[in-house]
C-alpha cells in the first residue's frame, strides 16, 4: 500500500483548485455547494451556463478518451478532479447523465454516426440528457419493462408507455429509453435502447412532488413518440446489455467527489452542533464521531475499489451503495436532531437549508438505484454466494 502522492498529482491538483478558484466566482458564486441529488432544482439555467464555463476550460468529460472529445485523464487524476471540484463547492453537474451515463455507453456501443452526432453536445455542455429506465411496475424489478416500441415502414421507431423517476427530464433535450421491441418477450430479453428528443408531441412530462416539496423527478409518458431509425444503440434486443454497461459506468471515480460533498455536509452538522450547544451532548458527540468514522471508511473503501485491491471479487464494491446510502440517511437524521426545533421550519439560512434538504432527500438514497433490500440480496448472493430466492411454486 502506498498513500503518498506524486509531484505530478500535486501539480494537477493545484491546477484544478486554481481554475475553480478563478472561475467559480461572480454570478456563479451563488451556485457553490448547490445542485446535486435533492437540490437539482437550484437555478438550472445558471448551472447550464456553468457547464459551458467548465467546457470552455475543458473540464467536462475529463475521463473520456481524447478522441471522444474528453480529456483522457488517468484514474488518479479523475479522482483528484472530482475531489477538488467538490472541495471548491462546485455545483451539482447538470450534464452528469450525458457525461457519466449516456456518453460512456455511446463510446462503448454507439455507431460512429451516433458518436459524432451526440458526444460533442455533451462535451460542450449544450445538450442535456434524461434517463428512461424505471417504470411504475419496474422499480426493483428493473427488467420488467412494459414500455413497448415498434419499427415503422420508414425504419423509425415508435414508443408507447411510461417511465418514472427520470431526474431533470424537464430540463433536458434528450432522453434514452429502454423499451420492449419483441412483443411477448420477458425480462431482460427483447429490449431496445433508443435515443429520443423530449420536445415532441408524443411525449408528456409530469413532475413528481417529493416529500421535501421539490419535484426534480418526473414521470414521462410516451404515446407513439418517435425515435429516428438511426437512433437505436446496438441492435434491437441488445437494450439490456447497453443499459447495464451504462449502469456500471455510474459507479466509480465520482465516488470520491461525492465523499468530498459528504465531508462538507458533516462540517455543516458540526458547525450546527456548535451553534446549538449540542456539541456538549454526549449522544450527539457519539453520533458525530461515528459519522466521521463512516467518512473514513467510505474513502478507504473507494481507494480499495479504485486500486482494484483484493481478488477477482471486489467485496468493497459490492457493499459500496448500501454503505453510503445508509450512512447518508443517518447523517440526515443526525443533522435535524442537532438542529432540534430549528429544523422544523423551512429555512433559507445556508447553515440550515442544506441540512433540511439532506434530511428529507436522503430518504431516497436507500431506495433509488437498488433499494436496501435489493442491495442486501445482491451482497448475500454475489458477495457471499448464498442461495438465490427460490421462485414461488407456480
Amino acid at each position: 500500500m502506498n498513500l503518498q502522492s506524486t509531484a505530478a498529482d500535486e501539480t494537477f491538483r493545484k491546477e484544478v483548485a486554481t481554475w475553480m478558484q478563478k472561475h467559480l466566482v461572480g454570478k456563479y458564486t451563488s451556485l457553490k455547494h448547490r445542485g446535486g441529488p435533492g437540490d437539482e432544482e437550484a437555478d438550472p439555467a445558471m448551472r447550464k451556463e456553468w457547464e459551458r464555463e467548465l467546457a470552455a476550460g475543458r473540464w467536462t468529460c475529463v475521463g473520456w478518451p481524447q478522441e471522444a472529445g474528453g480529456r483522457g485523464l488517468s484514474i488518479e487524476q479523475q479522482v483528484i478532479f472530482h475531489e477538488e471540484y467538490a472541495r471548491a463547492g462546485g455545483p451539482g453537474r447538470m450534464g452528469h447523465i450525458g457525461e457519466g451515463l449516456l456518453g460512456p455507453a455511446l463510446i462503448k456501443f454507439g455507431s460512429d454516426a451516433q458518436k459524432n452526432e451526440f458526444l460533442p453536445g455533451i462535451v460542450a455542455g449544450t445538450t442535456f440528457w434524461a434517463q428512461g429506465y424505471s417504470e411504475p411496475g419496474a422499480g426493483s424489478d428493473l427488467a420488467n419493462v412494459q414500455t413497448k416500441c415498434w419499427q415503422e415502414a420508414d425504419g423509425s421507431w415508435r414508443v408507447s408507455g411510461q417511465k418514472i423517476w427520470t431526474s431533470l427530464a424537464h430540463e433536458s433535450e434528450w432522453i434514452f429509453v429502454l423499451a420492449r421491441c419483441e412483443p411477448g418477450s420477458k425480462g431482460n430479453k427483447g429490449l431496445a435502447f433508443l435515443l429520443m428528443p423530449l420536445n415532441q408531441p408524443g411525449i408528456e412530462i409530469r413532475g413528481i412532488r417529493q416529500l421535501g416539496g421539490g419535484s426534480e423527478f418526473n414521470e414521462v409518458f410516451f404515446d407513439g413518440a418517435v425515435a429516428q431509425a438511426n437512433h437505436i444503440v446496438g441492435a434491437p434486443g441488445d437494450g439490456w446489455k447497453v443499459a447495464m454497461g451504462l449502469l456500471e459506468a455510474e459507479r466509480g471515480v465520482s465516488t470520491l467527489g461525492q465523499q468530498m460533498h459528504f465531508t462538507h455536509e458533516l462540517d455543516l452538522v458540526i458547525a450546527a452542533a456548535r451553534a446549538t450547544g449540542k456539541d456538549k451532548n454526549p449522544q450527539v458527540r457519539q453520533r458525530i464521531a461515528h459519522a466521521w468514522c463512516g467518512l473514513r471508511v467510505m474513502r478507504y473503501n473507494a481507494l480499495r475499489m479504485l486500486s482494484g485491491d483484493s481478488t477477482s471479487l471486489q467485496r468493497e464494491a459490492i457493499i459500496g451503495k448500501y454503505y453510503w446510502s445508509n450512512w447518508h440517511r443517518d447523517l440526515g437524521k443526525l443533522a435535524v436532531d442537532v438542529l432540534g426545533p430549528l429544523a422544523d421550519v423551512p429555512s433559507d439560512d445556508p447553515a440550515i437549508r442544506p441540512l433540511q434538504q439532506l434530511f428529507f432527500f436522503s430518504r431516497a438514497d436507500t431506495i433509488y438505484a437498488g433499494t436496501n433490500e435489493i442491495q442486501l440480496n445482491l451482497i448475500a448472493e454475489r458477495g457471499l454466494g448464498m442461495p438465490r430466492e427460490p421462485r414461488p411454486a407456480a
Binding site: A289, S310, L376
Partner: protein, 390 residues
C-alpha cells in the same frame, strides 16, 4: 472541521505489494494448518496456553517476530501494514501464542520510544522470537498512562526502585521480559523488568477467553539504572505505539469477525429446516449480508489506518485513524459473533461449536485500550477542538 482530519491521501495504490501478499497468504495457510479449531481448543486447555512448537516455527521458519524490526537489529524492516495483515489472520484463527504481546506490544513500543542502548539490547532477540516480552493492556482509553497509575519508579543509589501494582498484562505468565510503565519524577517512564526479578509477583487467573490470558503484577523491585528503556526525547513515540497497538488489535478483531461470517455462511448452507437450507431464507441472507457490510467497511478502515501508519502521516492523524479502526472493529466483531451464535441456532451456544470462542474474544477485546464509546468520545473531542472550518 471534519475535513481537517481527512488528510490528503492522493495515490490510489491501495493494493498490496508482492511481499505483503506473500506474507498474508503464508499466514493464512500456516494458521489454517496449525491453528484450526482442534488445535486452539488443545492450546486453551494446556497449562501454558499455547503450543511452543508452533511458536518456534513462527519465530524461526516464518520470521514474523522481526517483520517490523529495523534490519540493523536483524528484522525485516517492514511495518504496520505487514503486521496488520498477519494479525488479521491470527485473529481469524484465534492463534494462541505470545505473538501479540511480544511483537504488537513490546517490540512495537521499544521501536517507538526505546533508547539506542535498549534497542541494541532487546530488539534483535525479539526479532528472533528468542525473547518473549509483554506490557500492560489497560481497558482505559488513556492507554499507557493508565497502566502507570499505580506504579512509581524512584532513583535509589544509582538503581531504580519500582513499586506498585499493574493489572491486565497479557501472556505475562510465559514472558521472560515485562515492560512496565511507571511514574517517575520526570513523568512517564518505561522499564524493562525480567520476569524472574526479586520482588515480582505474577498472578494469573483463567479468563472466559482462554486464548489470551492476563496477569496482575505486584512489584517491589530494585533494579539497575539501565532498566529504564525509554529515551525521554522520543516520548512522542508513546502516542504512536499506542496508536499502532490499537491498529493491531483492530486487525485481529477484523479477522475474527470474518471467521464468524465464514462459519455462519458455511453452516447455514448445510443446515436444513422446513425442507430447505436455512441460508436460502431471505432474512438469514440479509443478516449475513449485514455482517459482510460491517466487515468490509472495517477492512477498509483497518487497511486505511495501516496505510496511514506506513505513510508520513502525523502522530495526531494516525492516533485518530487507529481509534476509528479500533472502535469499528470492537463493534463489528461483537455484532458478528452474536449473529454467528444466533444464526447457528441451538448449536450456536454450545461449547462444541466455534462461535462461542469468537464471542468470548469479542467481549474480552471490546475494551482493550478503550471501548468503542470511549474511543468515539476521543474522536469527537478531536473534531470539536479542531479549528472551525470556513
Amino acid at each position: 472541521m471534519s475535513g481537517s482530519l481527512a488528510c490528503g491521501l492522493n495515490r490510489l495504490d491501495f493494493s498490496l505489494n508482492e511481499d505483503q501478499i506473500m506474507i498474508r497468504d503464508a499466514a493464512e495457510n500456516f494458521l489454517a494448518d496449525v491453528s484450526d479449531s482442534a488445535a486452539v481448543r488443545k492450546a486453551m486447555a494446556s497449562e501454558r496456553g499455547y503450543d511452543e512448537s508452533v511458536w518456534q516455527r513462527i519465530a524461526s521458519e516464518l520470521g514474523w517476530c522481526g517483520i517490523a524490526v529495523p534490519e540493523e537489529h536483524g528484522g525485516l524492516g517492514l511495518g504496520a501494514v505487514e503486521i496488520a495483515l498477519v494479525q488479521e489472520q491470527i485473529g481469524r484463527r484465534l492463534l494462541c501464542a505470545p505473538f501479540f504481546s511480544t511483537v504488537c506490544l513490546a517490540a512495537n513500543i521499544l521501536k517507538e520510544v526505546g533508547s539506542h542502548a535498549a534497542q541494541q539490547q532487546y530488539l534483535s532477540s525479539l526479532a528472533e522470537g528468542g525473547l518473549r516480552a509483554t506490557l500492560p493492556l489497560p481497558s482505559d482509553v488513556a492507554g499507557w498512562s493508565a497502566a502507570a497509575a499505580n506504579v512509581v519508579a524512584t532513583r535509589e543509589s544509582g538503581h531504580w526502585r519500582i513499586q506498585g501494582v499493574v493489572d491486565r498484562v497479557p501472556d505475562a505468565a510465559n514472558a521472560e521480559l515485562l515492560l512496565i510503565f511507571a511514574n517517575t519524577s520526570e513523568g512517564l517512564g518505561l522499564f524493562a523488568v525480567p520476569a524472574d526479578s526479586n520482588g515480582m509477583q505474577i498472578i494469573t487467573a483463567e479468563p472466559w477467553d482462554t486464548t489470551r490470558r492476563f496477569s496482575r503484577v505486584i512489584m517491589d523491585l530494585l533494579l539497575p539504572a539501565d532498566t529504564r528503556v525509554d529515551e525521554p526525547i522520543r516520548s512522542a513515540g508513546f502516542a504512536r505505539s499506542l496508536a499502532l497497538a490499537r491498529l493491531y488489535i483492530a486487525a485481529e478483531q477484523l479477522g475474527a469477525a470474518q471467521q464468524c461470517l465464514d462459519l455462519t455462511v458455511a453452516y447455514t448452507a448445510t443446515r436444513k429446516q422446513f425442507g430447505r437450507v436455512v441460508g436460502s431464507f431471505q432474512a438469514v441472507k440479509h443478516r449475513c449480508a449485514e455482517m459482510m457490510v460491517k466487515i468490509e467497511a472495517l477492512r477498509s478502515a483497518v487497511y486505511g489506518a495501516a496505510a496511514q501508519a506506513a505513510s508520513d502521516a502525523s502522530t495526531d492523524i494516525l492516533a485518530t485513524e487507529c481509534m476509528m479502526a479500533r472502535a469499528l472493529a470492537g463493534d463489528a466483531l461483537f455484532y458478528c459473533a452474536g449473529e454467528a451464535i444466533q444464526l447457528h441456532g441451538g448449536v450456536g451456544f454450545t461449547w462444541e461449536y466455534d462461535p462461542q470462542l469468537y464471542f468470548k474474544r469479542a467481549q474480552a477485546s471490546s475494551h482493550w485500550l478503550g471501548d468503542s464509546d470511549a474511543l468515539r468520545e476521543q474522536i469527537a473531542e478531536t473534531l470539536f477542538s479542531s479549528a472551525v472550518h470556513a
